[in-house]
């Protein structure tokens, strides 16, 4: 089924996330990043941060629940078994650090069908509880073949 165009511009309710020191360490370890600023609070403080610093793509974890709300929204009708991650961009207004209390608001920026695939452009604005901008994430999710299947149905195939 083609995706419902009326979802363009939709904003989802805010979700909170508390950044844990051990989660940053675990993530840094999983990507093989041994820089002490990701692991050792003293090293992070010596470098001018209040606690261990998240690697640049850590924000995807903060964003995860918000993305799951969109991809799992039954009204949107995304067939997640056909979804691939097309692109991903992070804009960091400041580095994420352990102890940050973050709020994520997800948006559907665009929906389009091209060459039989559905393209869903999503954006997440991550801020502090006070509204200070922290990170902006943009991604394109591609549902392979779903628009073509809808066109075939419409054509009576």
């Amino acid at each position: 089924m083609a995706l419902d165009q009326s979802f363009i511009g939709r904003e989802y309710p805010p979700l909170t996330y508390t950044v844990g020191r051990e989660k940053i360490r675990e993530f840094a370890e999983a990507i093989g990043d041994t820089n002490p600023v990701h692991h050792d609070p003293a090293a992070a403080r010596a470098a001018g941060y209040h606690d261990v610093v998240a690697p640049p793509t850590f924000a995807a974890i903060v964003n995860l629940r918000a993305m799951n709300v969109i991809t799992g929204d039954p009204e949107l009708g995304l067939d997640f078994s056909r979804v691939v991650h097309g692109d991903q961009t992070f804009v960091h207004h400041r580095p994420i650090q352990a102890g940050d209390e973050l709020v994520t608001v997800a948006h559907v920026d665009n929906i389009m069908a091209r060459a039989g695939n559905d393209f869903l452009s999503v954006r997440a604005e991550i801020t502090t509880a006070d509204g200070e901008p922290v990170s902006t994430l943009r991604a394109t999710l591609v549902a392979r073949g779903t628009a073509a299947a809808a066109a075939e149905q419409e054509a009576g195939a």
Binding site: A30, A47, F90, H92
Partner: protein, 146 residues
């Protein structure tokens, strides 16, 4: 493990367009994918279940695109320092197929400075290669130079 907390680049004055970043070579094994799945909470079975991966038309288990993207981030922060990345984007163009053996898949990452701003920032274009082909497209990071 590196003992350095600082970046490997010293000052903005020393960075020029065309500079190459120290390359990064990473062997990704199935164990690495499982570890990344746990750390990132991305439990899509295409990253750990060979039967499922083949059922959905993949040649085998593939690495998380976000893991390859994270390695590109590491290439950049190893050079410019943790916390230096202002913007980082990629397109996921080809999968990194990870066999069930000790060697896994070799991902080779290189980067080149493509612009230096007067505001103390630099743009880096990243290339990630697996099996002779690039796996990320339009992989570009903007960093604040130390």
């Amino acid at each position: 493990m590196s003992e350095l907390t600082g970046p490997s680049v010293d000052t903005a004055q020393r960075v020029n367009v065309g500079d190459e970043l120290p390359p990064l070579r990473v062997q990704l094994t199935r164990a690495d994918l499982v570890r990344y799945a746990g750390a990132s909470l991305d439990f899509n079975p295409i990253h750990w279940n060979e039967r499922f991966a083949r059922e959905v038309g993949l040649p085998n288990v593939i690495a998380h695109g976000m893991l390859t993207m994270a390695l590109g981030g590491r290439l950049v922060t190893d050079w410019a320092g943790p916390g230096s990345v202002l913007e980082y984007g990629v397109r996921f163009t080809r999968p990194v197929v990870v066999p069930d053996d000790e060697q896994g898949a070799l991902v080779e990452l290189t980067g080149k400075v493509t612009a230096v701003g007067e505001d103390g920032t630099a743009r880096v274009t990243i290339t990630a290669r697996f099996d002779g082909q690039t796996v990320l497209g339009k992989a570009v990071a903007t960093v604040r130079l130390p």
